[in-house]
Symmetry: C2
Subunit: 118 residues, 2 copies
Amino acid sequence: MSVDVASCTPLVRKALTAEQAADLSRVLKAVADPARLRLLSLVAAHEGGEACVCDLTEPLGLSQPTVSHHLKVLVDAGLLTRDKRGVWAWFRLVPGALDALAAALSTAGSRDAAPSSG
Amino acid sequence: MSVDVASCTPLVRKALTAEQAADLSRVLKAVADPARLRLLSLVAAHEGGEACVCDLTEPLGLSQPTVSHHLKVLVDAGLLTRDKRGVWAWFRLVPGALDALAAALSTAGSRDAAPSSG
């Protein structure tokens, strides 16, 4: 049930359809959580851009099952990859996924890119 | 209780603190809703980049109180301005707010901007 973040429609180029808004909100709901934002941030900042649950529980101060749940939400949203090696699963950012989400929110290229005052 | 979106800390430059993650998630929660994404999109696409509730209820298929509630959430999140003129309040995008949110999610400038494969 992974989402293709790159297919999300830019918000302000023209009015979103209900379906486009539902797709984009699904990815945004996945990131709109303090623990999941910190997980994305910790994974990105970790050595090699990769981290396992064992690296993430202590900095977050959350239990391993809770961290695993949040990681699953981020994998399902198409924002993290999961690679099982031995005992642990290793997570890294899906290349381009956060940038695609950022691009969907950006007004660059729209008539609102340089709004006039007043 | 408006949020200063521009002050949100970029996600992937280095690991977010709990407070930074809470600030960013608050703005993301405001946009992580299909109706509110469509409202932002409709306001941006409307003539002059400005719309009143009267312009927004029909395209969304929602009641005026529901649309007004969603608009208030977006104003409180620092994403829309509200200007009362006569009978109606008029809404427009806060210049730069969506772009600041996009910048907080973007990996541009981080070591993950051009991730290697594997």
